[in-house]
């Protein structure tokens, strides 16, 4: 089994979600949902065979459907809360087992059979799904509806990572990173490894705080500082630099009202007088975590 086959399966899942969306009359925007997931399914299943410009056009259409709010939530034939409580008493902690299958089988297949991590992950997800269906005596239709419920809740954000990767690719072609790296080297003595690491981690934190989104910041700051200075110039291990860079970005998420879902909405939910109370509580943690991240990157990545 290869990654390409995994993409076909993922395309199949999305195709099922699209069909269920199409017949979901409870969703006023069902045609939008169906079109969005079907196009996503198409890029998944045939992305390796379609001309890139065709995939690009599909991405633009999906961006328009998702970006202008043409997708919504529908009816997923969920169980009532009371029924779920009954189920939870019936299964007890066994309900966690299928969820545990995913990481355990992934590591097993990857380490013992040296299978590609993503292929291993896909197989474990299928194994876990079969286990859950057997254990709970549920049908593939239930699984499809439940999967679609979670995907609709994510909505347009489901394609954001891939679109950001595309932006990163364009930044690369336009040499945006090199220009930002030029600015940074005007301020930071680039021969000093520690200062480059600190500039990258702090840059991730600050840009994430400004944009409210660590993923968007990662595409920009890694192109500008992480890749040219920390990895290429000083020889940092790319995987370690990347992951600790992203975690430094999350320090910025702790600090910003721009990340409203995490910081402002909870303050409202908890009926706090000060809508910045959560950010204020988090600020000392963010300060300590950025120091930890800078230290870890400096000592682990070189």
């Amino acid at each position: 089994m290869m990654l390409e086959h995994v993409y076909w399966i993922c395309g199949l899942f999305l195709c099922v979600f699209a069909v269920f969306s199409l017949v979901d009359t409870a969703n006023r925007k069902r045609f939008g949902n169906a079109a969005f997931w079907l196009m996503f399914a198409f890029t998944f299943a045939f992305g390796s065979y379609l001309p890139y410009a065709v995939t690009g056009i599909l991405v633009v259409v999906m961006t328009i459907i998702g970006g202008f709010g043409f997708i919504g939530m529908g009816n997923y034939h969920e169980r009532a809360k009371a029924q779920k409580v009954v189920m939870s008493l019936k299964y007890g902690n066994r309900i966690f087992m299928p969820a545990l299958i995913v990481p355990i089988v992934t590591i097993l297949l990857n380490k013992a059979f040296s299978m590609d991590a993503l292929v291993a992950f896909a197989i474990s997800a299928i194994v876990a799904l079969l286990a859950a269906m057997l254990m709970c005596r549920e049908t593939p239709v239930d699984a499809g509806q439940e999967g679609r419920r979670l995907l609709d809740a994510i909505g347009w954000a489901a394609i954001l990572s891939q679109l950001l990767a595309a932006l990163g690719s364009l930044f690369d072609k336009a040499k945006v990173g090199e220009i930002i790296a030029g600015f940074v080297s005007a301020i930071v003595p680039t021969e000093n490894t520690f200062l480059c690491v600190a500039a990258y981690c702090c840059g991730m934190m600050i840009f994430t705080a400004v944009m409210g989104n660590a993923y968007a910041a990662f595409a920009v700051i890694t192109a500008g500082i992480g890749a040219p200075l920390v990895i290429a110039h000083h020889g940092g291990n790319p995987a370690i630099v990347g992951v600790i860079g992203m975690l430094s970005g999350y320090c910025g998420t702790l600090l910003t009202p721009m990340a409203a879902n995490f910081n402002i909405v909870p303050a409202a939910l908890l009926e706090l007088q000060d809508k910045n109370a959560v950010i204020k509580a988090q600020a000392p943690m963010a300060a300590m975590m950025i120091i930890v991240n800078i230290g870890l990157m400096y000592f682990l990545a070189f």
Binding site: A99, C136, A158, L167, A216, F218
Partner: protein, 226 residues
């Protein structure tokens, strides 16, 4: 001139315009500024989108997680957390953070502010703080609630990269492989561990301090009573 894309991303995000639109417009603007034709820009977007399909493989776990939720996963977690018998506000919040970090590391999103913090964790922490202080002032009550929201964020942010198909990890892989650096997902998971552990340790100290403060207020109150 090619920095127009960076400016568009920042301005778009600051004004809370839909992120898909912002990113797409920024991409086209950057490409045009660099003298690339619209057709070529579309093809570059299509190519990157197709090459980075693995970033969205989390879709494969959604049916199983959904099925488990249908059969009481969330309710079981609620019972589990409500059964934590510890007496202090700080302990409750830290234990929630620990459980949340483990589950998010497994790729499960049980938790979150509307589903767990508001109905469960904040009231439990408040009740415990009430006992510790013998009467909670409004100011301290606010602080306890804010700390409950913090537990969820810390666990979510610093735990999510322990999951092999985490969106963040796959984005890192995509961005760096585009630049010619091959990235192993397990290496990233392993190097996400120290930060996750550090967050737990620092949060433990923070919640310990909060507990001490609450206990001190309680003692002081008793002295006044006597």
């Amino acid at each position: 001139m090619v920095l127009i894309g960076v400016v568009i991303v920042i301005v778009g995000m600051v004004f809370r315009i839909n992120a898909l639109l912002v990113v797409a417009v920024a991409g086209y603007a950057t490409g045009l500024a660099a003298g690339i034709s619209i057709v070529d820009i579309t093809a570059i977007i299509g190519k990157a989108f197709a090459t980075n399909r693995y970033m969205s493989l989390f879709i494969l776990v959604l049916p199983v997680i959904g099925l488990l939720e249908r059969n009481g996963l969330r309710e079981r977690a609620e019972q589990f957390i409500a059964g934590i018998g510890t007496a202090t506000a700080g302990r409750i919040m830290w234990l929630y953070m620990l459980i949340r970090q483990i589950t998010v590391g497994l790729g499960i999103t049980i938790g979150g502010h509307p589903a767990f913090v508001r109905p469960l964790i904040a009231p439990m922490a408040e009740a415990a703080a009430e006992k510790q202080t013998h009467g909670l002032s409004e100011k301290i009550r606010e602080q306890v609630k804010a700390c409950a929201a913090m537990a969820d964020n810390l666990a979510n942010f610093f735990g999510q990269n322990l999951f092999i198909a985490a969106g963040g990890l796959l984005l890192i892989k995509g961005v760096l492989e585009e630049k010619g650096y091959p990235i192993d997902l397990f290496t990233m998971v392993i190097y996400a561990v120290p930060t996750a552990v550090a967050a737990l340790i620092i949060a433990f100290a923070r919640y310990q301090l909060l507990d001490r403060k609450l206990n001190a207020i309680g003692k002081e109150g008793n002295r006044h009573d006597a």
